[in-house]
């Protein structure tokens, strides 16, 4: 059996080794993320059958929980880790030729550390450890947003940093209060003691932690950094931020609420928050003329949808939410990657500058359309099964409120469809301006990465069964607090 700790340790070791590798040859470091992600992907895939039957508890340092930090490699965690590795791999392939200027070695190092941070967050079973890895994730993304060092990038990074730092401080305050209340930092241990103090005392740390993590998870109204950061970062980083970073933040929120606090009563609030996030995100995106900003706002909408699904807190809705998360990771990554090269080609982020791209960059445009269709939830793309599950879970509640909220969410989807289809049309059917319609493909490597994502989007869209099965196991893992506590504090 492979140990889940390898998922964190090996990439981290490789990241540490990169300066040395860079001393040997400056061309080598860019391949290190590929190796690390491929390794992680293999490990994660090998772990999945194991964790589907029972979660793997990896005790760091060999002490028994709650005295040590433990990794909790449950179905959710390992699938997340696999997803991170997958997205990381694809985007790393893309970045091989996309990132040509600037301190490229540092880019790849930071990129790997971002992935390490994300993997750490999803695997850890300790509140403070989560904070630490969360910071690894955040700080590397601050730096990566500013990577090009242009006006927008720096401004976005500064704003992102300020908001992120406030979020981290709130999170740390919450963790401090938790430690003060329970004298332990182990999630399972806290979860088992959560009933021993008064409601308000539990609530304040919960509020602090939700607000703190919510900043990274881009829940409305904590998401003001997102459109700036996602639109100003290099496209590969936008893809990873949109595809991985906010999802991981969301995972952390969900893990906290579901497992640590078991705060079932806050779900209704989250439900409304989710719907609000959907509507806000989609409406703002609808009014955008900047393609990357539009995609960024669309991410907010998607996050709202996922929150909505999670907040319904049934096995199906959680599976749907996780599925939607997968959808969003793959599709939004594909969208950002495709948009990245189209922007590269046209030299502008305005949607109108993408006119006629279908002729100039046929494959990239095709990839973009696939991503757009998938995000909107059209069959036979991956977005459909996830949307289907979410709708199903909402209707299975058999309550007018849920049906009504579902209506609002679908309204958001409608708006989303409107702006995505607008862009697809611009790409294919609008005449480009003065530039001659010469055909040019993006370089091979980005195309390969887009192709991988597109194939996945279609394949899972057509044959979602295994994924859905695995995700419903994962959903019950998230829902079953007692099992979590039991398996850790055995």
């Amino acid at each position: 059996m492979v140990s889940p700790v390898l998922l964190i340790a090996v990439p981290l070791g490789l990241a540490f080794a990169m300066p040395l590798i860079a001393l040997i040859s400056r061309r080598l470091p860019r391949f290190v993320p590929l190796v690390a992600c491929a390794f992680n992907l293999i490990v994660a895939i090998r772990l999945i059958p194991t964790v589907l039957s029972a979660p793997v508890i990896q005790r760091i340092g060999g002490f028994s929980p709650p005295f040590c930090i433990n990794l909790f490699a449950g179905p959710v965690g390992v699938m997340f880790a696999g997803l991170i590795a997958l997205a990381g791999l694809v985007i790393a392939i893309y970045a091989l030729s996309y990132i040509r200027t600037g301190p490229t070695v540092r880019y790849h190092m930071l990129y790997m550390l971002l992935l390490v941070g994300a993997t750490g967050v999803v695997l850890t079973g300790d509140v403070f450890n989560l904070f630490v890895f969360f910071e690894v994730l955040c700080i590397s993304s601050y730096a990566l947003v500013a990577y090009f060092g242009d006006r927008n990038g720096l401004e976005a990074a500064a704003k992102y940093l300020i908001q992120g730092a406030v979020g981290s401080a709130l999170l740390l305050m919450g963790i401090g209060l938790l430690y003060g209340l329970f004298g332990t930092l182990n999630m399972a241990d806290i979860a088992s003691r959560i009933g021993s103090v008064s409601d308000i005392s539990v609530f304040v740390p919960l509020a602090l932690i939700v607000s703190g993590l919510g900043v990274e998870a881009a829940i409305f109204p904590l998401n003001a950094w997102l459109p700036d950061a996602h639109s100003s970062a290099p496209s590969s980083i936008s893809a990873i931020l949109s595809g991985i970073a906010i999802e991981v933040g969301l995972y952390a929120v969900v893990r906290m609420i579901f497992t640590v606090f078991g705060a079932t009563s806050i779900f209704m609030f989250l439900l409304f928050l989710g719907v609000l996030t959907v509507l806000m995100g989609e409406l703002c995106a609808f009014a955008q003329t900047n393609i990357k900003r539009m995609l960024a706002y669309s991410s907010i909408g998607q996050i709202g949808l996922i929150v909505f699904a999670f907040a319904m807190a049934s096995t199906i809705s959680l599976a749907g939410g996780l599925f939607q998360l997968l959808t969003h990771t793959l599709s939004k990554a594909l969208l950002f990657l495709a948009a990245g090269y189209m922007i590269h080609r046209s030299g502008s982020m305005e949607i109108s500058s993408l006119n006629g791209m279908g002729r100039r960059m046929p494959l990239t445009s095709l990839a973009f359309s696939f991503g757009a269709f998938s995000i909107v939830g059209l069959p036979p793309f991956i977005g459909f099964p996830s949307k289907f599950l979410i709708v199903r879970s909402a209707l299975e509640k058999q309550q007018t409120l849920f049906t009504l909220l579902l209506g609002f969410v679908l309204l958001g989807t409608l708006v989303e469809g409107a702006y995505f289809f607008r862009v697809v049309q611009a790409i294919y059917f609008k005449k480009s301006g003065d530039e001659p319609a010469s055909r040019s493909l993006a370089p091979a490597l980005p195309l390969i990465s887009m192709l991988i994502l597109a194939v996945l989007i279609i394949f899972v869209g057509i044959y979602p069964q295994p994924v859905a099965d695995a995700l419903s196991t994962a959903a019950s893992d998230l829902l079953d607090r007692a099992a979590y506590i039991g398996s850790v504090l055995r």
Binding site: A207, S211, P221, A224, C284, A418, F421, P464, A468
Partner: protein, 619 residues
């Protein structure tokens, strides 16, 4: 295995067409035609079979299944038949245009998806095919490029998305309620369903089907889409794609719900069928007058498609054998003559270099006789003159309306027909009659591969008009499948007690009378053939070429009508879109760019959480 094979050939063929197109355009065309032909032959072999079978795979735990019965067969046959003709027609029409591989691929893909919707045996696969149909259609509508086409495409896909979201909710509601989406099983389960659920499902489904069938007030996508698509595709859109909405209604009303249940869905006089019928009636009248106001050949036809959909719905919602047969038969007839008309309009467009504006056409009768015959016959069918197919189906619809005591609905239907006469004549007159503009002096004839589909359809219009018994026997089987009494009919028409229809008598009478008059005319009259523009005008000369009365053909009527038949739904939807955008513009102002505010949001969010908990402690 035939149906599975059908789907595989349809989808595989579309993909293969694309691949072959990269090799050679000739190969691609040949293969596309062969593929369409093979599909027609296969569906022909499936005639009369009835079975339902689950497929060996599924989706998220839901078993897929396929079914074949007369209802499916009827729709599948129309789809594939028109598909074949459209492919043939496209060869010359699309020649020299850009992105032909894409065009043929999408065209065949749409056909394949439509085929999928009608053979789907469960609602989920129905939905999946439906959605594939929607987005592939969207990808083809704007093929021509240009602002209008793009607007048409976006309009279509948004409305279609509204519909499909509604349908998704409906299907999932059924699934959560009964644990199955198989049509056959649902039909059984629905009988025990609660009224609330049934109402929800019916309303949601109806939204979808009304949108795709372009009934008022959700018709607004159609005129744009049909007018702006390339003509062979307009034909497919108008003839078969739009009618998927009716297929859905059939499925919903008569296969899944059934009569007895439909009767329960009523509050006093307001029943589902009544509402539907009134929507149909409004659609007919509204569309007829809107069509009158158009000046674009394809837009007129598009509006007529809207209107004819109303007839079908009227017939279907009356729910007598006769109304049902009329509605169903009208689907077939409309599919024939509207395809014919779009082919004609396309041929004109093709030969005149893209002119669709009726104000600048005219006098083409001598230049394009085939197109003229096609257009004339098509318009006759559209109006429903006796001896054309449209007559029989409209006769059935009118009659069932009158006999059921629905004079107002019948009035709407009649009025629509008179509107149709007006714009139909305008279509013919402004394109083919009157003076020939100088620019069109050297217009060529319709090319052969475009003439063949036109002539085939012309023959069909008359064949089904004179021998309505042949198609009606199929229609009868469709009706029987949905649980209606079969209509009493023979090959010439419908013998029944309260008003019969005997087309052959009509034919004989017209033939004899025509012959006699012709004889009289030929024996007594002597005439000299003169040029078209050799005209008498009270002794004054008429300037050639610039004195055609095609401009503003019904100008006085426009002045009366136009204030009342504004497209209010369209304006409303555009307003909503506009407001949504404005709302988006307003909401995003909260992201003011000042980071202090952003931090404030975070703090306020936290404070609000704490405050609520401290005050009311809800959590």
């Amino acid at each position: 295995m035939m149906v599975e094979l059908l789907l595989i050939v349809a989808f595989g063929g579309s993909l293969l067409t694309y691949v072959l197109g990269k090799l050679s355009s000739r190969l691609r065309n040949g293969f596309a035609l062969l593929n369409a032909l093979a599909l027609v032959i296969m569906i022909g072999m499936l005639y009369g079979q009835e079975f339902e079978r689950s497929l060996p795979f599924g989706f998220l735990g839901i078993q897929f299944s396929i079914r074949m019965n007369m209802l499916s067969w009827f729709f599948a046959a129309t789809i594939l038949g028109i598909g074949l003709l459209a492919v043939l027609y496209s060869f010359r029409y699309m020649k020299g245009k850009e992105r032909l591989d894409y065009y043929y691929f999408t065209l065949l893909f749409i056909n394949a998806s439509m085929l999928g919707t009608v053979v789907a045996g469960d609602l989920l696969s129905f939905f999946i095919f439906w959605e594939m149909m929607s987005w592939s259609t969207y990808l083809l509508i704007s093929l021509r490029g240009g602002g209008k086409a793009i607007f048409a495409g976006i309009k279509y896909i948004i409305m279609s998305l509204v519909g499909s979201l509604a349908m998704l909710v409906a299907i999932v509601s059924l699934y959560t309620a009964f644990g199955t989406v198989d049509i056959g099983e649902l039909a059984v389960h629905m009988q025990s369903a609660s009224l609330g659920l049934a109402l929800l499902v019916v309303i949601l489904f109806s939204i979808t089907f009304v949108i795709i069938n372009a009934l008022w007030p959700f018709h607004t996508w159609l005129p744009d889409a049909h007018a702006e698509a390339v003509s062979p595709f307009s034909a497919i859109l108008s003839a078969v794609l739009v009618r998927k909405g009716l297929y859905g209604l059939f499925l919903l009303m008569y296969v899944i719900l059934g009569f007895s249940f439909l009767d329960r869905l009523a509050v006093g006089a307001i029943s589902f069928s009544n509402v539907l019928a009134w929507i149909g009636a409004i659609t007919i009248v509204f569309a007829a007058f809107r069509a009158l106001l158009q000046n674009d050949s394809k837009r007129i036809l598009a509006w007529s498609t809207v209107g004819q959909g109303g007839y079908m719905v009227l017939g279907v919602s009356v729910a007598t054998s006769m109304g049902m047969a009329g509605g169903t038969f009208h689907i077939l007839n409309h599919c024939i003559y509207i395809a014919l008309l779009f082919f004609v309009a396309g041929a004109i467009e093709h030969r005149t270099g893209g002119i669709r504006d009726l104000d600048s056409l005219g006098g083409l009768i001598k230049k394009m006789p085939v197109a003229f015959v096609g257009g004339l016959v098509g318009i006759f069918g559209l109006i429903g003159l006796p001896l054309t197919n449209g007559f029989v189906s409209k006769w059935l619809i009118y009659k069932s309306l009158i006999l059921e005591g629905r004079p107002f609905l019948a009035f709407a239907a009649f009025l629509g027909t008179w509107g149709t006469i007006l714009y139909g004549y305008k279509f013919i007159h402004n394109i083919f009659l009157g003076q020939l503009p100088d620019e069109l002096r050297d217009v060529k004839r319709v090319p052969f591969t475009m003439a063949v589909p036109i002539m085939v359809l012309v023959v069909l219009v008359f064949l089904f008009g004179v021998l309505p018994g042949i198609p009606l026997s199929v229609v009868n089987q469709v009706g029987t499948y949905m649980g209606f009494e079969p209509l009493d009919l023979n090959v010439w028409g419908i013998p029944s007690e309260s008003g019969t229809l005997n087309v052959v008598n009509l034919l004989a009478a017209i033939a004899v009378a025509g012959f006699l008059v012709w004889l009289l005319f030929k024996t007594l009259g002597r005439s000299t053939r003169v040029d078209q523009s050799d005209n008498y005008a009270a002794g004054a000369a008429i300037p050639r070429g610039r004195y055609g009365f095609t401009r503003e053909f019904y100008a006085p009527l426009y002045r009366i009508v136009s204030p009342y038949v504004k497209d209010f739904p369209d304006a409303l939807f555009l307003w909503i879109a506009d407001r949504t955008k404005a709302l988006g513009g307003m909401t995003r102002k909260i992201y003011s760019g000042y980071v202090g505010s952003y931090v404030m949001y975070i703090v306020l969010f936290l404070a609000a959480l704490v405050f609520v908990q401290l005050t009311w402690s809800p959590w």
